[in-house]
C-alpha cells in the first residue's frame, strides 16, 4: 500500500509537520513487533486532524513519535525543514516545552497543585515572569471555562474539568501544535462534547493546530481530516 497519501488541502496550506517513512518496531525478546510501518503524511498549520483506527492500529504510537515522547526506529519528522528526531534529549525536552502541547487521556495533572499552578507550570519552566505566567494561566483557564476554579485542586474537580485544566496547561506556552491522546476516553458524553467543542473553538478562533487520537466515530464531525490507521500503516485519509 502506498503510505504517502496527501490531500489537496495539504498542498494548499503551509505544512507544519512533515512526517516521512516513520517506523516504530518494538522488540519483545527476540520478536520484532512493528507498530508503525513507513508512515508518511503532513500536518498543516491550523489543521484539526484526527488519527483513528482500531485498537492496536498504532494510533497512540504514532502520536507518541510525533510528540517526541518516544524514539522511532526510523524515519523523519521535519519542522521547517529540520528533522526534530535528530535533536538531543535536552533539546527535545525544550522543544516539547516550547513548541508542543499535550492532552492525555487521564488528565495528567499534579494532584498537589491547584488548577492555576498546574497550568502555569510549563510557563514557569520557560522562565517567564511570575506576574506574566499567572496572568496567562488565568486567561487560559478562563478560556476553557474554569475562571472560577483557579484555586481548586484536581481532586476537587470533575473529570471534564480536569481535562479542561490539562488543555489550558497545553495552551499556556502558545504551542505550534496540540497533541491529544484520546482526550475524551474517560469522560461522559456531556463532558466529551464540551472538550471536543473546546478543541473545535480553539482551532477555529485561535487557528491552533490539533492532532487528536480518537476511537469515537462521532468525533469526526469536529475535525477537518481523519487519518485512518490499520496495522501501523495509513489506510485512508478522509477530508
Amino acid at each position: 500500500m502506498n503510505n504517502v497519501l496527501s490531500s489537496n488541502l495539504e498542498n494548499e496550506q503551509e505544512v507544519l509537520l512533515e512526517i516521512r517513512n516513520l517506523t516504530r518496531i518494538y522488540k519483545m525478546g527476540d520478536v520484532r513487533v512493528p507498530a508503525l510501518n513507513n508512515v508518511s503524511f503532513n500536518i498543516n498549520h491550523g489543521e484539526f486532524a484526527a488519527i483513528m483506527g482500531k485498537s492496536g492500529s498504532g494510533k497512540s504510537t504514532l502520536l507518541h513519535q510525533l510528540g517526541l515522547l518516544d524514539i522511532p526506529t526510523s524515519g523523519e519528522i521535519n519542522i521547517n525543514g529540520k528533522d526534530i528526531l535528530k535533536l538531543s534529549e535536552s533539546d527535545k525536552a525544550r522543544f516539547r516545552l516550547e513548541r508542543f502541547g499535550y492532552v492525555f487521556q487521564e488528565y495528567a495533572l499534579l494532584p498537589e497543585l491547584t488548577a492555576l499552578e498546574n497550568v502555569f507550570l510549563p510557563a514557569m519552566a520557560r522562565g517567564r515572569k511570575k506576574k506574566d505566567y499567572i496572568l496567562k494561566a488565568t486567561e487560559a483557564l478562563e478560556q476553557v471555562g474554569l475562571g472560577v476554579r483557579l484555586d481548586h485542586r484536581p481532586k476537587e474537580m470533575s473529570g471534564g474539568e480536569q481535562q479542561r485544566v490539562a488543555i489550558a496547561r497545553a495552551l499556556i506556552n502558545d504551542p505550534d501544535i496540540l497533541f491529544a491522546d484520546e482526550p475524551t476516553a474517560n469522560l461522559d458524553s456531556s463532558s466529551s462534547k464540551q472538550i471536543l467543542e473546546l478543541f473545535h473553538k480553539l482551532n477555529l478562533e485561535m487557528g491552533l493546530t490539533i492532532l487528536m487520537v480518537t476511537h469515537e466515530p462521532e468525533d469526526k464531525k469536529y475535525v477537518s481530516r481523519v487519518i485512518w490507521l490499520k496495522d501501523g500503516e495509513i489506510a485512508q485519509v478522509n477530508i
Partner: protein
C-alpha cells in the same frame, strides 16, 4: 539555571506542603532522632574524655608538672623556682610535693600506696581534693601527725578496690606508715576524700613539713604542680618557663593522661562507628521515603518530562525534599540537644568510675554531623529520583 532551581523548589515545596502530613512529621522526627543519636554519642564520649582530663588536671597533676632533672631525685631550690613560675602571667597556683611510696598498715591489714606531701594552702590553689572530703577534714599546714586518705585506702567507703584496702579505718584511727627510706611513723587519720577518680583516690596526703622531717630534706620537691588560668595553652606556658631558664623536666598534663588517650581513641572509634551506622540509617530512611514517593509519583514524573520539564528539575525537586527532611530534623535535633538533653545531663550527670560525666557538645562535631546528615540526605534524595528519570517517558506514564 535560576528558573530551574526556582521550579524545583516550587515542586518540592508543594509536595511537602500538600503531601501526607503524617509521613512528613514521622520523617522529620526520625531525622531529628538520628541527628540526636549522632551528636549525643559523640558528646557523651567527649564528656567522658573531658571528665578524665579534668580529673588528671584537678586531682593529680595540675595543668603543668615539673619533675626533677634527669638523674636527679628531687627538684632543688624550690622557692626560687616557684618565684620564677609565679612571675609568668596566667599562673594561678603552684604546689610543691614530695611523692613517695610507702607501706601503710592498720591492725592486720596492710598495703602499698603513694604518699604525697603538700602545703595545704598551696595545694588548694592547684587541686580540688579539699572540696571532696567525704569524712573528717582536710589537712592544715601545721599538721605533722595526721594524714588524709583517698577513698580506696581506708576501706568501708565504697572503693572500687575494697579488697585491697585497710579493711575499715575510721576518722581518728591511728595507722602505721613505713616509708621506702625505712622510716616508720604513725598518723591519725584526719579525713577521707573521694574525687570519683580511682587513680586519685589511691593516694594519701601528709603535710610537707612532716615529709621533710621524714626525708631529712628542705626546700626540695619531687613534683611541682602548676595550675594555669586556661587549659589548652600549656605549651605556651612551658615555653615561657623555658625562657626563664628552668632546666627541670616540664610536662603538660597531657603526658600524664597518655593512658587516657587510648581510651579516648577507642571512644572516638565507637562514636565514629555509631555515626556511620546512624548516617546509613538516615540515608536508607530518606532513600525509602523518596523512593516510595517517586514510585507513587512515577506517572507524574513521566508527565512532567512529557510536557518538557528537564530531568534535573525533577531530580532537584526530590533532593530539595530530602534536604528539607534533613535540615528540619537537624534543627529539631539541635533544639533537643541544647534545650532538653544538655540541661538534663547537667542536672543529672552520669556516674562513671572516672567521675561524673555530662554531655560535652563541641560545635565542630555538631557541624560535622550536620554536614554528614545533609550529605547523606543529598545522596539519598538523588539516587531514587535519578533512577525515576532514567525510565522512558512512556514507561513512566503508562508502564506497569
Amino acid at each position: 539555571m535560576f528558573t530551574d532551581l526556582k521550579l524545583s523548589l516550587f515542586l518540592a515545596y508543594k509536595s511537602i506542603i500538600k503531601g501526607n502530613r503524617g509521613t512528613l512529621i514521622l520523617t522529620i522526627f526520625i531525622m531529628s532522632l538520628i541527628f540526636v543519636n549522632l551528636v549525643f554519642t559523640a558528646s557523651i564520649f567527649l564528656g567522658l574524655g573531658n571528665t578524665v582530663n579534668n580529673q588528671v588536671i584537678n586531682t593529680l597533676y595540675g595543668n603543668i608538672a615539673i619533675e626533677p632533672k634527669k638523674d636527679e631525685k628531687y627538684i632543688s631550690d624550690v622557692k626560687t623556682l616557684e618565684q620564677k613560675i609565679n612571675s609568668v602571667p596566667g599562673v594561678a597556683g603552684i604546689s610543691a610535693q614530695y611523692v613517695i611510696s610507702a607501706a601503710i598498715s592498720f591492725k592486720d591489714k596492710s598495703g602499698a600506696w603513694a604518699i604525697r606531701s603538700i602545703n595545704p594552702d598551696d595545694e588548694m590553689t592547684v587541686t580540688t581534693i579539699h572540696k571532696f572530703m567525704v569524712d573528717g577534714e582536710y589537712l592544715s599546714g601545721l599538721d605533722t601527725d595526721e594524714i588524709i586518705l583517698g577513698k580506696e585506702i581506708p576501706g568501708g567507703y565504697g572503693g572500687d578496690l575494697e579488697h585491697l584496702s585497710l579493711g575499715g579505718v575510721i576518722i581518728g584511727d591511728s595507722i602505721d606508715v613505713l616509708f621506702n627510706n625505712g622510716v616508720k611513723r604513725s598518723y591519725r587519720v584526719k579525713g577521707v576524700y573521694d574525687v570519683n577518680f580511682q587513680q586519685s583516690n589511691n593516694i594519701a596526703y601528709i603535710s610537707k613539713k612532716e615529709m621533710e622531717s621524714v626525708l631529712g630534706l628542705k626546700d626540695k620537691a619531687s613534683l611541682l604542680l602548676i595550675k594555669t588560668v586556661d587549659t589548652g595553652n600549656e605549651d605556651q606556658y612551658i615555653n615561657k618557663f623555658l625562657e626563664l631558664g628552668i632546666k627541670e623536666d616540664i610536662k603538660p598534663w597531657t603526658v600524664y593522661a597518655a593512658m587516657v588517650k587510648n581510651i579516648t581513641r577507642s571512644f572516638d572509634m565507637i562514636a565514629l562507628l555509631i555515626a556511620v551506622i546512624g548516617l546509613f540509617v538516615a540515608s536508607v530512611t530518606i532513600f525509602i521515603i523518596i523512593y516510595v514517593n517517586t514510585i507513587s509519583k512515577r506517572r507524574h514524573i513521566g508527565i512532567l518530562r512529557a510536557i518538557g520539564l528537564k530531568e534535573k528539575i525533577i531530580i532537584h525537586s526530590y533532593i530539595f525534599q530530602a534536604l528539607f527532611y534533613a535540615i528540619s530534623g537537624t534543627i529539631i535535633g539541635l533544639f533537643m540537644m541544647f534545650f532538653i538533653l544538655k540541661p538534663w545531663f547537667i542536672e543529672n550527670p552520669l556516674k562513671f568510675p572516672v567521675g561524673y560525666v555530662s554531655l560535652l557538645i563541641v560545635p565542630e562535631k555538631v557541624m560535622i554531623n550536620t554536614i554528614s546528615l545533609i550529605a547523606a540526605a543529598l545522596a539519598a534524595g538523588f539516587i531514587p529520583s535519578w533512577m525515576a528519570v532514567r525510565e522512558t517517558i512512556l514507561d513512566a506514564i503508562w508502564g506497569d
